[in-house]
């Protein structure tokens, strides 16, 4: 039975929501998940995130926490049993935060531009997206996870976007595996973890969602 005192406001295709689900699963925290409808936002969402009115929102003992990486850090600190999501070494911790911030500033926008783009801008959007992934692939280098031997904060920050790779490849007409094989291998490695496999929707479901979105917004 889900703990009544942990509630997650979510929207299933959101990579940001997936981050929180992975973190909660890593820590073995049970929670109630409420799906939001962006056409009709619940009063609970508007009340708990009046500033942005966006998911994800984690409500712990009635107190809301917003912004996905902020929530992930909160989960790590409020439930400070193992596994730790942030490294204990202070310098490595700063690097984890740096890359989390880099992913926040670059990945979502570059992903969206590829699958909603068209015409002559498509090539430029594809190029920027691949460049962003290559920067991250360089940072991963030959480590199994971004944090090293253990799955952690940066992996949590990035892996949800891999559920969008099929969508990006189909609309962008590109192959991520060809361009960034190490990153694709890393994604497969992450998917072997229960916390990730149970938190990411099937890529085809994401594609169907994206298709519907494009039709609704006249973006074909």
């Amino acid at each position: 039975m889900a703990e009544a005192n942990v509630v997650l406001l979510d929207f299933w295709p959101s990579s940001y929501g997936m981050r929180v689900k992975i973190a909660l699963a890593e820590k073995g925290i049970t929670y109630e998940c409420k799906q939001e409808d962006f056409q009709a936002k619940s009063s609970l969402l508007l009340e708990t995130n009046p500033v942005h009115k966006m998911i994800p929102v984690l409500i712990h003992n009635g107190k809301p926490i917003c912004e996905s990486l902020n929530i992930v850090q909160y989960i790590d600190e409020a439930w400070n049993h193992k596994p730790s999501l942030l490294p204990s070494d202070l310098y490595k911790r700063s690097q984890a935060r740096f890359w989390g911030d880099y992913i926040d500033k670059n990945v979502y926008n570059s992903v969206k531009r590829v699958w909603t783009g068209k015409g002559k801008e498509q090539e430029e959007h594809n190029k920027q997206f691949i460049e962003c992934l290559k920067t991250l692939e360089d940072e991963l280098a030959n480590k199994p996870y971004f944090g090293g031997e253990d799955f952690g904060y940066v992996d949590v920050a990035l892996v949800p976007f891999t559920s969008w790779f099929y969508t990006v490849e189909t609309f962008g007409k590109l192959s991520i595996e060809e361009e960034c094989p190490k990153l694709v291998a890393w994604a497969k490695r992450c998917m072997q973890k229960d916390s990730v496999a149970t938190s990411l929707p099937h890529p085809h479901k994401i594609y169907a969602f994206a298709l519907q979105y494009k039709q609704r917004h006249g973006l074909e």
Binding site: I65, E67, Q73, Y74, E77, S94, R97, F98, D101
Partner: protein, 225 residues
């Protein structure tokens, strides 16, 4: 705790944040002044992803992004804690820090550079973002409570740099009538040592921002014509 260097420029408020934090903690550091028109190999090597200041070097290990650096400083040097200890309070502080950098900074900058029809809308967006911060400081001496904390350092640009942007953009945002608590805080903050020791002369900030404003406006003009 080892040798500390800061790659920075005096006019940049993200750089000021780092100096304020180090001074509050009583940490000695070497200031490496960067010429942004001619970036040093050390900067490019230390922050290849963004190539920006500030960068903190601790035992020659580089850390970039001012909010990331602030947390590192707070965790490494335990005197005069900047972030609250309680996880929920920390989450609130981090939330507002991100909001300030994403919405307030860009909102005020947007209102400054906007011209013509877009200006009023940009001003409204900036005012809306400041209204949230006003609510956060109401009834408090500092965002950190009785002492300067993380959020005061993050909002610190509003005590000096904001006014320069208002003047250059010919706008009025942070007034005592509109935001009495934030206005009072900004006057108090800038006079508190060690904050006031790292405030660059106004003329240098005017020059720094003027260059950026003209550049953005000329870019916009060339894309429209």
């Amino acid at each position: 705790m080892g040798e500390v260097k800061v790659i920075a420029t005096p006019q940049s408020f993200p750089c000021a944040r780092i100096e304020w934090a180090l001074r509050i903690k009583g940490v000695e550091y070497e200031y490496l002044k960067e010429d942004l028109a001619n970036k040093s190999p050390l900067l490019l090597q230390s922050n290849p992803a963004h190539k920006k200041v500030p960068v903190l070097l601790h035992h020659d290990n580089p850390i970039a992004e001012s909010l990331v650096i602030l947390e590192y400083i707070d965790e490494t040097w335990k005197e005069n804690p900047l972030l609250p200890l309680d996880p929920y309070e920390r989450a609130q502080a981090r939330f507002w820090a991100k909001f300030i950098d994403d919405k307030c900074v860009f909102g005020v900058w947007g209102a400054t550079v906007a011209q013509g029809e877009e200006k009023e809308k940009a001003i409204d967006a900036a005012l809306e973002s400041l209204a949230f911060i006003e609510k956060e400081i109401e009834g408090k001496k500092y965002f950190g409570g009785e002492k300067i904390g993380y959020l005061d350092i993050v909002v610190g640009w509003m005590s000096h740099w904001l006014n320069v942007l208002e003047e250059l953009g010919e706008i009025e945002l942070l007034t005592a009538e509109r935001f009495p608590s934030l206005h009072a805080w900004s006057h108090n903050f800038i006079q508190t040592p060690p904050i006031k020791d790292c405030i660059p002369p106004r003329e240098t900030v005017v020059e720094y921002f003027s260059f950026g404003i003209n550049y953005v406006r000329s870019l916009e003009a060339s894309t429209k014509s």
